[in-house]
């Protein structure tokens, strides 16, 4: 009984500590850039009939944390990447300041559309918890 209580206390302490951490520690990222790249050989593989997606339909960014979309064309030919035409070896860095949902015409997508969702900076404990939960789900 005593051992069981001790385990429960430890469990509650760990849970409280974890909740405190995810709700109180400010959100930060090692880089504010979210990078997508067209690898070398993509055009050749597409010409050979392979279906390659280099950019998701939806991209999620967070203002003040990770709010710069970086596109890199590492292929040998110019490509429409996201909203723009990019030359081989070219990078494109697009910053987002305002939280909103941005629609871009993108011929590289089957839908012809790319959506960039910029969430507001998670400033409150509850916002930090939900931001971290969303990030975890997106990564899974």
């Amino acid at each position: 009984m005593r051992a069981r209580t001790r385990i429960l206390v430890v469990f509650a302490a760990v849970l409280t500590g974890a909740l405190a951490w995810i709700s109180l520690i400010p959100i930060s990222a090692p880089s504010r850039e979210q990078v997508f790249e067209i690898p070398k050989g993509t055009w050749e593989r597409r010409m050979a009939g392979e279906k390659i997606e280099t950019l998701p339909d939806h991209i999620y960014l967070t203002a003040g944390v990770r709010d710069i979309l970086v596109l890199k064309n590492r292929d040998d030919v110019p490509q429409i990447f996201g909203p723009t035409l990019m030359m081989p070896g070219q990078n494109f860095s697009l910053p987002f300041e305002r939280p909103a949902e941005y629609q871009f015409a993108c011929t590289a997508h089957a839908s012809g559309q790319m959506t960039i969702v910029v969430d507001s900076y998670p400033a409150t404990p509850w916002a930090r918890i939900s931001w971290r939960a969303r990030e975890l789900i997106r990564r899974l």
């Binding site: 723009t84 990019m86 070219q90 860095s93 697009l94 910053p95 015409a105």
Partner: protein, 190 residues
């Protein structure tokens, strides 16, 4: 100690104030590429090509005069930005290329642009010429039947070209005149 903290704070504030204006609000290309040249019919009666504006920063946008959603907002934003730039605006040229050669004659385009700023220059040409320009710039324009007429679903961004005719950045639709002023000032200071 107090003086040291004050100095440190002032240094941080100075660093922040210097760092902020240097950043583009638009998406930056690295390395920048030379803007593909074109030869269209200008709304001033002269051939329109980028070389004419060498030494000026250029705002290059694509649209059509009967556009009711995107183009009026974009052109109004350009007009505001040009006004806010003051005397520096003489080193900026707005170039607006139509995607609708059927309806946008030079005269019609000129009249449309004059609603915003008479210094704005428009360009039109044959369907094939305009298609080539769009291809060179990665611009899309899709004709869509609408009631008894048609509309265009077209790219709504603006290219910012530096004084040497290089495509430096791309401003997505919806940015404010202040954002354009910020980026144009960066290009003009170079």
């Amino acid at each position: 100690m107090k003086r040291r903290i004050t100095t440190l704070l002032l240094a941080c504030m100075a660093a922040a104030s210097f760092a902020a204006p240097g950043a583009f609000k638009s998406g930056v290309f690295d390395p920048p590429r030379q803007a593909p040249e074109f030869s269209l019919q200008g709304t001033d009666g002269q051939p329109l090509n980028l070389n004419r504006y060498h030494g000026k920063a250029i705002l290059l946008a694509f649209g059509y005069s009967t556009c009711t959603a995107v183009c009026p907002v974009t052109l109004h934003t350009f007009a505001l930005a040009v006004r806010k730039l003051g005397p520096a605006a003489s080193a900026v040229q707005v170039v607006y290329v139509t995607v609708d050669p059927e309806r946008d004659t030079p005269a019609r385009l000129k009249q449309f642009l004059a609603n915003f700023d008479p210094t704005f220059i428009g360009g039109t040409g044959t369907a094939a010429q305009l298609e080539q320009v769009r291809k060179d710039y990665g611009v899309s324009a899709k004709k869509i039947p609408y009631e008894k007429t048609y509309v265009y679903d077209h790219s709504s961004f603006t290219y910012l070209l530096d004084r040497n005719g290089r495509i430096r950045s791309l401003m997505p639709y919806g940015h404010s005149a202040d954002d354009f002023v910020n980026d144009l000032n960066i290009l003009l200071r170079e």
